[in-house]
């Protein structure tokens, strides 16, 4: 068979969202690939220029439906740095807990999508079942399942509700047990392993050149995590480990995410134990002094960054978003080349696509 281009997307079961991967196949083997994004461009950055600083928080939720907490947290972080205000310590702990809840449910969403990509619906439904608990925690904490609108500039919207710590501990304890059930479906499954191991291999050097961040980067042996190496909030006061795997293939990225879920449970447990009393919010000024500010944090998908240019008014002059997936998806050509058609979902699934933040 001669080479032919197959367009996968934007309406395709493997592309979780509206994007296209054009692949050139020779039989089943992929010779070339080209990602096409932009189907979901909403003018997010431009819209922010017409809103006051507090009005942007719910917009930041919409950057990614499964990482809304970290995105609105990142926005509040950059706004706080611009306004030079200090977040109360209790609010910092609550933010850490909320971020880790967000990280776990985002990774579970990824695991579920990974299951359907490999043709196993049991993984999909089991992962979504466990995810419901964390969404219920979100409901209890902020009243919303996905677009949480919880962090505020200078703190968080509300304190933890009555008995929230008890529910949190119950969920985390039970989840750690239940996650082993899912691992029994994946790691103990020879077919799952054979589909994941050795595909989409990328070395440390290539990861650096491609700009991979997050689990994709740690999956090829780079020991870097913004939470530890550029600590924000109270991450440096907690005792936890960065999940790293030297494999560099799809299975390595899978292992990193699974380990991160366990570490997130550990972080939540310690944060609840160390939680101090005090206020959860300080008053933020209306206007921001002139200047440029950068903030970054560890998103479930990688290193997300916001660049704020303020001109002294109550609206940002420019708000630039550096989305981890926007960079990671550009590595797709390198990742899928030489693989097979059937490897495309197994590889691109581990990138954990989210189009809201990619196209903005």
């Amino acid at each position: 068979m001669s080479k032919m281009w197959v367009t996968m997307g934007p309406q395709h079961p493997f592309s979780h969202g509206l994007w296209t991967l054009k692949v050139q196949v020779d039989g089943e083997v992929i010779q070339d690939a080209e990602p096409v994004i932009g189907y979901l461009h909403r003018g997010w950055e431009k819209e922010c220029e017409n809103r006051t600083y507090p009005q942007i928080i719910p917009m930041a939720d919409r950057l990614c439906y499964s990482a809304s907490m970290t995105w609105s947290h990142l926005y509040c972080k950059v706004a706080e740095e611009a306004m030079e205000i200090e977040v109360p310590e209790r609010a910092q702990y609550i933010r850490v807990i909320a971020d880790e809840i967000c990280r776990i449910q985002s990774h579970l969403m990824w695991l579920a999508a990974m299951g359907t990509d490999l043709g196993n619906l049991t993984i999909f439904l089991w992962a979504l079942r466990e995810r419901e608990w964390f969404l219920d925690l979100n409901v209890k904490l902020c009243g919303q399942r996905l677009t949480t609108n919880f962090p505020r500039i200078g703190g968080v919207r509300n304190d933890m509700p009555y008995l929230f710590e008890r529910d949190l501990m119950r969920v985390v304890d039970l989840f750690e047990k239940r996650l082993w059930d899912i691992i029994a479906l994946t790691d103990d499954n020879a077919i799952f392993m054979s589909r994941m191991q050795g595909v989409g291999h990328v070395t440390r050097k290539e990861a650096a050149n491609l700009g991979l961040t997050g689990p994709s980067m740690r999956g090829c042996g780079v020991n870097f995590d913004v939470r530890r190496d550029d600590p924000y909030m109270v991450y440096d006061e907690l005792d936890w480990e960065v999940a790293v795997c030297d494999d560099g293939d799809s299975y390595g990225r899978y292992k990193v995410r699974i380990e991160e879920m366990f570490q997130s449970c550990e972080i939540i447990r310690q944060a609840v134990a160390k939680m101090p009393d005090g206020p959860t919010r300080v008053k933020a000024p209306r206007n921001v002094p002139e200047g440029t500010h950068v903030a970054r944090l560890e998103d479930p998908r990688g290193e997300s960054l916001m660049y704020l240019v303020s001109d002294g008014t109550d609206r940002p002059y420019r708000l630039k978003v550096r989305s981890p997936i926007f960079v990671n998806v550009s590595a797709s050509k390198r990742l899928v080349q030489g693989g097979r058609m059937a490897d495309v979902p197994a590889i691109m699934g581990t990138i954990d696509m989210c189009l809201g933040e990619t196209d903005r």
Partner: protein, 386 residues
Amino acid sequence: MAPISNWVTFANPMDNPLYQFGAVYNLPYDVGYKIWQLLGGLIAWLLDVLVPGNGVSLWLVGNAVSNALALVLMIIVVFAVCFIVNLTMIWIERKVLGRLMDRRATRIGPLGYLQCLGDGLKTFLKEHIVPDKADTKGYMWAVSIIIGSSVLVAGMIPLSYRFFLADYGSGLLIIFGLFSIAPFMILVAGWSQNNKYALLGGMRAAAQMISYEVPMLVVFASVALMAGSFNINEIVGYQNDNVWFIVPQIIGFVVFMIAATAEAERIPFDLPEAEAELVEGWQTEYGGMKWGLIMLSDYFRGYVACALGAIMFLGGWTLPFVDDSFLPEIVFLLKVILLFFIMVWTRGTLCRIRTDQILNIGWKILLPLAVLNLFVVVVLKVGGLV
């Protein structure tokens, strides 16, 4: 005017001089015969009331017409039984998967049993669409042959020594031949749709076919060799007299079940329709009732795969230590459902494998195992142990 009781006699079909099956009693034929006697008797009586003394009434309930219509009705009875068994299997699959995945399964009708009929009605109401640039002949004929051959091979499966459509000396070979038609037609269907996904799916079907048909055929050969016959009745009888073939041929059973899962295109071997990367594979451009019938024929093929497993390795409709097994059709169907449950369980647990992996499995694992199984059979046969 003759009373109706004169026409409706419920005679024994085996007394009919035109009876097709020799000395063997055939249950579906008997059912068809009785239905026609009731129906034809009523018609004959009505005709006699309207036109007394005509010759047609007697002809209608005569030997020739009764035999011919009993054969037609027998086919309908066999198909109806197949169809109901298949609906039950779809229902079982959905219920078991629902349990495995911790979700709701079917909900329409008592215990959700009528969900498949609801789905069938839904697909039936869809518009008939043929893609503009598709090769219409290949497109329609391929799907017709896939569905037709699947239903035919399901009808060829005997449910017991008395429930069969035809009792050939080469029964197993014919079933295997009919069973293998559909994968070829999948290649044709994938090519004729003028769609890249469908083409890749069809090519995958071809690659998959060459990897599992050979070990499957070797397993068929070892079963036939051990039983000394291709006739299904004799294979089952031989197992009843000696031992179920699963005991000496456990390797063959495992090889057969893996190959049969691939033949029925079920997870983990459903690469021709891998929905993750190929949308719906070779079925991409089929819509409406065509797609509904393709899905139904998939289950017919799953039924055939499990039924062959039950016939060849689990002693068919016989039970050990039970002399004249009670309701042999039910015993057989229970064995089929047991094997089908294993297939569903596999589907709920495993992921889909890759094209190169199925080639490796087929040629490097299954074929040597099948030959080893054949070798075991030859040794046992030569040694006179079975």
